[in-house]
């Protein structure tokens, strides 16, 4: 087991290198660079720059160097904790993303906890009470969850909260805390605001997860080891929770890995609607403005989180399933 984890950890730098190259070139792919779009912006507002100014700007940001050099300067800086400066915001990237990253991870964790603690029991109940009223009820609930766009749920809930309770549910902080430094009071305020967006984001995932859990468990419930546990005289609930639920959850555990990155990109619309200070909207803006250094860093962080997530789910899976432990 330990050996397995070490092996996986040794792979990490290699994966990160591959992804960093990947992120860099994807960002470079669109024609033009930041200066091109800056000129276009200036032109739109009626002013212009002469060629010398343009060259100076390019030189200042190192855009005149060959790609390879640009790449190594970028990576080298990051290794020293310098993520560079956002051309668009004219601020250090680290400063821009620090808090947003924390909030995104928090929101992701909360969403994850809510959707798993709803979906797993729903899946278990639907499967063990197949074709009962409660199963049909959850089936309808699940379809609605999958079919309703998340941003619409968000809008409806916002409207309900505002018109019936008079509270505004946008953002993650009360106005007085938005720009305040971190304190216990601010953290409490965050918790008060976090659960609703987390719930909205969780609903969609919950529905899918519950369907998969139900299907997996139905498969497992017909297996001979379940009948054998009954033949030993175990009570139904105890045996269901000990044997088939364990085996039905295993395949789901391997999906934990993509949870965070998926939530990152999937939540852009919701984050915009709810005005959440998360990473998603920042990435969208950096991409539309060709703010390549910022976009590159964010994409790389996505990859990093995906790798960490996969590592966590692989380790969890190996811990839960001895057959995988043996192969490793």
């Amino acid at each position: 087991m330990t050996q397995y984890i070490i092996k996986r950890l040794l792979l990490l730098p290699l994966l990160l290198f591959i992804f960093s190259v990947f992120a860099f070139f994807i960002i470079q792919a669109p024609p033009g660079d930041f200066v091109t779009s800056y000129i276009a912006e200036l032109a739109a507002s009626g002013s212009s720059m002469d060629q010398a100014q343009v060259e100076a700007l390019r030189e200042q940001y190192g855009l005149d160097q060959p790609m390879i050099v640009q790449y190594f300067r970028w990576v080298g800086g990051m290794l020293r904790g310098n993520f560079g400066v956002s051309l668009d915001w004219k601020r250090p990237i680290m400063e821009l993303i620090k808090e947003r990253l924390l909030l995104t991870v928090l929101l992701g964790a909360m969403t994850f906890i809510i959707s798993w603690s709803l979906a797993i029991p729903i899946g278990i109940i639907s499967a063990t009470k197949k074709y009962s009223f409660i199963d049909y009820f959850f089936t309808v609930f699940n379809y609605m969850g999958v079919a309703t766009p998340t941003f619409m749920t968000a809008l409806i809930l916002m409207w309900l909260a505002y018109s019936y309770f008079g509270v505004s549910v946008t953002g993650l902080f009360s106005p007085e805390y938005v720009d305040a430094p971190w304190s216990l009071a601010r953290a409490m305020d965050l918790l008060k605001h976090l659960w609703l967006p987390a719930l909205i984001l969780a609903l969609d995932g919950t529905a899918r997860l519950a369907r998969v859990m139900r299907a997996n468990l139905l498969d497992e419930l017909n297996k001979p080891y379940v009948e054998m546990a009954r033949a030993k005289g175990m009570s139904e609930w105890r045996l269901v929770l000990k044997y088939p639920v364990h085996l039905a959850i295993n395949p789901l555990v391997s999906t934990i890995g993509w949870y965070l990155p998926m939530l990152f990109s999937g939540s852009v619309i919701v984050a915009t609607v709810l005005n959440l200070p998360t990473i998603g909207p920042l990435l969208l803006r950096s991409l539309t403005n060709q703010d390549m250094f910022l976009a590159g860093v964010i994409v790389l962080i996505y990859c990093f989180l995906a790798i960490i997530g996969t590592l966590i789910s692989d380790v969890l899976l190996a811990w839960l399933d001895p057959r995988i432990r043996m192969e490793a």
Partner: protein, 333 residues
């Protein structure tokens, strides 16, 4: 002597959308203490459903619809009382206290009947702890002893093994150890040797016979292999399409078979005395589809002694023809 288990008129049906499958449609047999009863019949004739009905393990859409399953239950003080298992709630406490404790099962598929993600030690200990008021260490000791008893090499280490790490023979031994965990009075073995190779088969049969003698258990042994029946059973129940065709002591079944189906079944066994090159007789026709069961005697479409107007109009009942054998056939009415 009173029977330990007495099944009377058992009917178990599966209510599917396509129709009703009468998997067991009137089965009677007795099992006496210390006796080995072999249930034999072709695949799909309802052997497994019969014994699952006895343990009340039939799940929806199946149901035990009729009949009595009388079992001589023994309470903690050793007092005996006959209870009808067919009347019990299949999820209730009463049947659960009998399953695994007084009636134990060796299932048809030992590989799939162990959980692949729990050690066999965990699963055997669980069987002990479910019915015996002992500490975990004591349960562990009992489990190791049981593994030792079934001839598992290095039982202490094997407690930590997973079922898929064992060979077929050892896996079946572990399964037997688990069934014996609580010293059952009735052991039901559902084709315990079909999944393993012939040499191991013989060893497992030997082991079951030894254990039966040591524990003085009654055993219901299910198989479609008459050769195995000849080796192990005292008494034989021949089944066809959910009904009992003939019952009797093993010698009578082999040397004086009465029912045309039993005769046909015996003729289809390859004999080493048969002249070389002779074709093996098989039973004419094929087993009817469960949805299109013939009315009357289920065997008449394949029967050599078919009597039109008799066999296809009413169903023969199982009746004793002498003090040992009983047959369900109009030839003996």
């Amino acid at each position: 002597m009173e029977p330990l288990l007495s099944v009377r008129g058992l009917k178990t049906y599966f209510y599917l959308d396509e129709g009703t499958v009468k998997a067991v449609d009137g089965v009677d047999f007795d099992v006496f203490p210390g006796q080995i009863v072999g249930i034999v019949g072709e695949s799909g004739c309802g052997k497994s459903v019969t014994i699952k009905s006895v343990l009340r393990l039939i799940q929806n859409p199946g149901r035990v619809v009729e009949g009595e399953i009388l079992f001589r239950h023994q309470d903690e003080d050793g007092r005996e009382k006959t209870i009808d298992l067919a009347q019990l709630d299949p999820h209730g406490k009463a049947i659960r206290s009998i399953r695994g404790a007084e009636i134990a099962l060796i299932p048809q598929e030992p590989m799939a009947s162990f959980s692949p993600v729990h050690t066999i030690g965990d699963q055997i200990m669980e069987a002990v702890l479910l019915h015996q008021d002992v500490s975990k260490e004591e349960a562990r000791r009992i489990s190791i002893e049981r593994l030792h008893e079934v001839g598992m090499p290095n039982p202490e280490q094997r407690m930590k093994a997973y079922s898929w790490e064992l060979s077929g023979g050892l896996r079946q031994r572990a399964m037997i150890a688990m069934s014996l965990a609580c010293n059952p009075r009735l052991l039901i073995a559902d084709e315990p040797t079909t999944a393993i190779d012939v040499t191991t088969q013989a060893q497992v049969l030997r082991l079951l016979l030894d254990l039966q003698e040591q524990h003085n258990m009654a055993v219901i042994f299910i198989t479609h292999d008459l050769g195995v029946i000849a080796q192990i059973a005292d008494f034989v129940v021949v089944m066809y399409l959910g009904r009992v065709m003939e019952t009797g002591p093993v010698e009578d079944i082999f040397f004086h078979p009465q029912h045309p189906y039993t005769k046909a079944l015996l003729e289809s066994i390859p004999s080493i005395y048969a002249p070389a090159g002779e074709r093996l007789p098989t039973i004419e026709g094929s087993i009817p589809h469960p949805f299109s069961r013939p009315s009357g005697c289920p065997f008449y479409p394949r029967c050599k002694a078919f009597m039109p107007g008799v066999c296809n109009t009413s169903t023969p009942q199982l009746k004793p023809i002498n003090d040992r054998q009983a047959v369900s056939c109009f030839l003996y009415d």
